[in-house]
Amino acid sequence: MKFSRRDLLVWGAGAAAGLAVTPVPWKLLDDTAKWSQNWGWIPQPARGPVEVKQSACTLCPNGCGVRVRMAGGWPVGVAGVATHPVTYGALCPLAFGAHQLNWHPERLKVVRHRGAVASWEDARSVFAKACGSGRVVVIDGYPGRAASQVLSNFAEKHGEYRVVRGAETRALSPFEEWTGVPAAALGYDLENARTVVSFGAPLLDGWGAPGRFTRLWAEKAAGQDDPQLRVIQIEPSLSRTATNAYQWISTRPGSESALASGIARVLLEEKLVTARGPMPELTLEYAASQTELKTDAIRELARTIAAQGPVVAIARDENPAVAALNVVLGAIGNRGGIVRRSSSATSQLIADASIGAARVVVLDSSVPWNFEPATDAEVFRFAAWNGGPTKSDWLLPAPGFLEELTDVPSAPTSGVETYGIAPALTKALHKTQSCAEFLASFDSSLDSAEKIVHGRCTELFRARRGTIQSHDAVAVAKIESAQKAEEQLTSGAVWIGEPASGGSIRCALKQWPAADASSPLELSGSWPAAVMPALATKLYQESGLRESGRNA
């Protein structure tokens, strides 16, 4: 008989039965399952050894120490440094997602000239020409670094160097006139304060080096009925600091100056303080009407404030009345109050709305995105991330998170002088250049930032002051060489000066500051990165924890 279709079917049945007793179906199942796990578009973490390196977060001028886990040469996790003398190992929520910032969709990858893609060569030639034909103003948002020195050295020759101050530094600025000490040299000795009166400053939610006060408060006040550290929060609405404070005083927005003046009046009239400060002109009744508090309530508040000293008052932003309150409280130059951190800082020109006539304005990447200089000059803005529409003519991609070596001067509100070095931990993802490098490339007589860091370590070693803290604190006097000191600082140790080593402060305030409108509640902080880490959006978008647009 010829081979028929039936034969084929029977043959097929035999083949199927035969296949069932071969590895084919079972192996194919197993293999396709594994194949489906390894498709190229499925994101997989790197394989290989994990190292832990130390550096400092450079996203804001507080320079909190960070421990970064690295895999395959890239950062995969961030944690604090427990032995850090300012942060005590705590960080702000944004730090924990910061290692992903360099791949943020809004990362600036190319040079842009008024929106259109341009090249570094274009920028350089335009800058070189402009520089030769007029005044250059260089604006720095993170003064005190070695890079700041480069900016300042360049600006000295070609124009002017100015700084943008964060709110915390602005709050200290009234003291400059009264004491002759630059705000950059002042700090708060919070470790020894027993009462802190905050006029809207978010002490427990991002003020200063965020970990510092939260740690102190956690140890000395949290959950305690009679805390060693009393936080009195004066703020219109219930913020995180307010709900956790020893006492929350809700006042009408904009009435902080009046309240500070009213409290000072009560302190002086009732002799609740030993210091003799100038008496405010305004009356208690006026303060009451401005704040919508009863006069008795203001008296009661003043008594509470004076009850447990040392006391220090912290304003959210520049507020002369709150600053003057510190004079009355005896906080200037005393333990637990406002101290002089160092003797070496010098006064700096502030960048604000009016910077005078200029041909070119250069903004370092540390300048907050929402700072727009009011000028007709050509503006070169260095930034690592694009924050949206801007008036700057040129956008120049700067190194991102931990892509560049930098040094870390004292945190703006710290009571002790500190110095650290934040090494680069990853290689640059794009063709970037920092403002300092860019400017230095036009003038070969200028020292590079690396050279200045090296010089600072040598100076530090020679001065034989202070200690270098990594796991243990070692006196600088006991360190063998400048090179050893620099090595230690580069691997995460921090130099700490003696407390209040800047010396005493004499306050020459004779008259209570004029009653002007309170500092506006503008939310310009010192967070310069124009974007938030991706994971931080969970706090706003994937939970009810924080509402965006409000500092809550």
Binding site: V76, L91, W103, T243
Partner: protein, 261 residues
């Protein structure tokens, strides 16, 4: 000796900053997708905000970090899972969720009394290149499965390896620090072995003012909370003695009414 890892979370120290949420997301390779919302997001650690129910200047808020409660008794999610994708580890007490075994029926999400389980509605995806920043200690998941807090098992692995290399049997708690514990700036989240009588956390669970959420349903969670404020403690048991809801209407101990005009 088997361990029973648990926590005491001091709500008086929690400032609601959210560091624990961000650190948890980073450690566990959780994506932050633009289309995610509070209902559809993936937050193995989620901090919730509660208030004392009063208005104006008498209002106070507290923040409650919610993570998998690591139920010890009749663990609801383990009971209902058709895939045996979750089980209570005998050696550590951790309720272990295996997303690779899960088929995404979400029965466990319904069963969990603490709403501590989250579903991958979308493929986890990161902007180009950001996968380089993923933590190698935790495997990635796919869409369509449920995930939750595993008490940072990736860190437990590291601690176990280290103990083995040093010739020790017991994991050193200095090496096993979950991401949220490490991140908390105030030290509000305290982690320890509840089976070890010498562990400070094991002792703290017996202290005054320590409570668990929904104690009456008897799941025996290993995550304890602590607060010196009565109104916060009352919120843990919304059903009172009479069976009706308890409202927190009393003042925090320290609020005095500041007289307003």
């Amino acid at each position: 000796m088997s361990a029973r890892y648990g926590m005491v979370i001091d709500l008086d120290r929690c400032t609601g900053c959210g560091s624990c949420m961000v650190a948890c997301g980073a450690e566990n390779n959780v994506p932050a997708l633009p289309q995610a919302t509070a209902r559809t997001g993936l937050t193995p650690m989620l901090v919730r905000r509660v208030s004392n129910g009063l208005d104006g200047n008498l209002r106070r808020e507290a923040f409650i970090p919610i993570l998998c409660m690591q139920c010890e008794h009749e663990t609801p999610c383990v009971h209902v899972c058709p895939q045996q994708a979750v089980e209570v580890d005998k050696a550590t007490g951790i309720v272990m969720q295996m997303p690779q075994r899960c088929l995404g029926c979400r029965y466990c999400m319904t069963a969990c009394p603490y709403h501590a389980r989250y579903f991958n509605w979308w493929d986890p995806a990161w902007p180009a290149g950001m996968e380089k920043s993923l933590n190698p200690g935790v495997a990635s998941r796919m869409r369509g499965v449920v995930e939750k807090c595993n008490l940072c098992h990736g860190r437990l692995h590291g601690a176990q390896e280290k103990a083995a290399a040093a010739g020790k049997r017991e994991v050193d708690l200095a090496d096993y620090v979950p991401a949220c514990v490490e991140a908390c700036p105030t030290g509000a989240i305290r982690f320890g072995n509840l089976a070890d009588q010498n562990d400070p956390v094991a002792q703290e669970i017996h202290s005054r003012n320590t409570f668990r959420l929904l104690e009456k349903i008897g799941t025996e969670p290993k995550i304890y909370y602590k607060s010196n404020q009565a109104w916060v403690r009352k919120m843990a048991e919304p059903i009172g003695e009479s069976g009706s809801p308890v409202r927190a209407t009393e003042n925090s101990q320290r609020i005095s009414e500041v007289q307003h005009v």
